[in-house]
Chain length 339, copies 2
DNA sequence: CGATGGCACTCGCGGGTCCTGAGTGCTAAT
DNA sequence: ATTAGCACTCAGGACCCGCGAGTGCCATCG
């Protein structure tokens, strides 16, 4: 009993099913793949594979369909990542390089990814708390309202309007701005707590109230995990795949529109693997996604993962291609941010 | 031949069809509405209405369905905007007031609108060119790279990194920042061209190159119509309405993901009406939206429209409710931005 | 002992037929 | 102008049937 061949059969089944979207039978298998054996033999193998839970038949007189477990084995051991074509790489590079802005980069990335994979794509904005600060700017709006603008190395800009108890003097803003930038620039949130605290003492008692407010605004902004933002594109690809998950499109779309769900998903997957992670069907904790698969990868300047991107589609998806695309876009994205 | 009653019949048909989603016949009409006449009479009226193109029958032995023309008459003359409940108004107000940021405001608005209307909602970011400037900030990144940050009164933040020909001296940045803000603050793009030009002459020849670059970066950023951004939410509501437009969900979703299409749509509708505008079915120029209706309204501080919001759904939608919701959200949005 | 050819069996699917009932349009009566 | 009565239409559901893809098992072969 050739264990080898059995795996080859599984691979063949997955590959066929992914393109035809129909249960595959023993006859068509031997026709389309050079397995060198007869349908009867394949049938025996299939019986074993079914026994072990890698494939299943929708009904008695139908061909076989891979189960989630089957897909899992496939992506883990049977599929080789297929490299993108030169043209594709070129397209990615130029398309992303034209971006003018962080918003633009993220926007372009998510569109690009959805086009490359023909799936729904999601991109998470670089996390504030894990990015280093580039600059903090203070703009007086009135005599007791202050606009605080925070710019990170990754290009993300965040702003808050502060309402102060007492009017602040003209001298304060420039001085605070200068000191703030000296202490904050280049540091991450985790390295920021103490220096910010010490900063307060450097000012006259009369001003400390204002300084404290600004400092805590900065800290709060960076800490707010709710401020994690996610964008999504290619929802129309989902309904194109409709026949795949019949009636399941809505739950999936709903899950996708729920930032919290997406966020948790991406976070969980970050723990799975530093590189590309794959979740198949019921492996997703969220019930709405039980018939969907997700491929995700992290990105970020100089090795540090600051956020993640992902593609989501029916379990019956082209894993090799999707993985390649996700990885490629993540890499280019990292490169852009580093530049 | 009571013209009155005929309109009442049309109204009844629309109202019934909107909730049942099934062709409505003469019998059920008299049952559900106190029309005071017999089905036979209604049938005569329906024949006339059909003659005039306000309703149609899907097939010979079925009830009637409103045509786009019928809906149009309905929204123009037959429906009264139903005011939101106090609870709803309260919910809108508090939900939007918690927003911390322009991004957050827009994000909350679009979610809110999609929930209120049970449709797909879109919100356009305040246009840069029509907003007044609040502040321009310059941050040196290296000795010849300059980060330009532009903040508008509506809270929108835009940034560009500038690559200069020659290194700029230390003195230049503070001076330029100061002058720039004096000339630019509070003005719109249209009022900005000349002052920016004059600004250049105020500097020493050696610096003029850099000043020119910054000035044109500011002008470009404000002018770029491509920088119009739109966010969308509630796509899952679309597929919930699936049976309405069978197989038409995909084109609609595709249209929605195409920023350009959406932008043109909103712009066109801005010309229709200053307040709430409605496009029904084939009135939409984009073919993919031939079976969809759009309700849109402008918003902006102090009467000035700086952008638009809208809700999109099947032609068979609750126009009264949708119009009320769109208008309400637009108003609250304006109020927030003004505050 | 694994591979194979043969064979009986299963059952989903597509197509055809029939029937029911909602809804219409017309006409004659009020 | 309204209405009751009536004949007519036709989409949709229920039912039935035959085809064919695909299976599992068994006896046979190298």
């Amino acid at each position: 009993m050739s264990d080898e061949r059995r795996l080859a059969v599984l691979r063949a089944i997955v590959e066929d099913y992914v393109v035809t979207q129909e249960p595959v039978g023993s006859r068509s298998l031997v026709e389309r793949h050079a397995l060198g054996v007869s349908p009867a033999t394949i049938r025996n193998d299939m019986a074993v594979l079914e026994e072990s839970g890698y494939i299943a038949q929708p009904h008695t007189s139908a061909g076989r369909v891979p189960t989630d477990k089957g897909y899992r084995l496939f992506v883990d051991r049977l599929s080789s990542v297929k490299p993108l074509s030169v043209a594709e790489r070129k397209a990615i590079a130029t398309f992303l390089e034209d971006a003018v802005d962080l918003d633009d980069v993220v926007d372009r990335s998510v569109r690009l990814l959805s086009q490359l994979t023909h799936q729904v794509a999601v991109v998470q904005y670089p996390s504030l708390s894990r990015s280093a600060l580039r600059h903090v700017e203070l703009v007086p709006v009135s005599d007791r309202r202050l606009l605080v603008v925070i710019i990170t190395e990754t290009g993300r800009v965040e702003q808050r309007v502060l309402e102060l108890e007492a009017p602040f003097g003209d001298h304060l803003v420039p001085e605070l701005r200068a000191r703030l930038n000296v202490t904050a620039a280049g540091r991450r949130l985790s390295q920021l707590a103490r220096p910010l605290g010490e900063l307060i003492d450097a000012f006259q008692p009369a001003d400390q109230e204002a300084v404290r407010a600004v400092a805590s605004a900065v800290a709060d902004t960076l800490a707010e995990s709710t401020e994690e933002r996610i964008v999504m594109a290619g929802a129309s690809n989902l309904v194109r795949a409709e026949p795949d998950f019949p009636g399941t499109v809505r739950p999936v779309l709903e899950a996708l529109e729920e930032q919290v769900v997406l966020l948790r998903l991406l976070t969980e997957m970050a723990e799975d693997s530093a590189d590309v992670a794959v979740r198949i069907g019921h492996e997703n904790t969220h019930v709405g996604l039980a018939e969907a698969s997700v491929v995700a990868a992290g990105y970020g300047a100089d090795g540090q993962t600051v956020a993640r991107i992902g593609a989501l589609g029916p379990t019956r998806m082209d894993y090799a291609g999707t993985i390649a695309a996700v990885r490629a876009v993540a890499r280019y994205l990292s490169r852009i941010l580093a530049g």
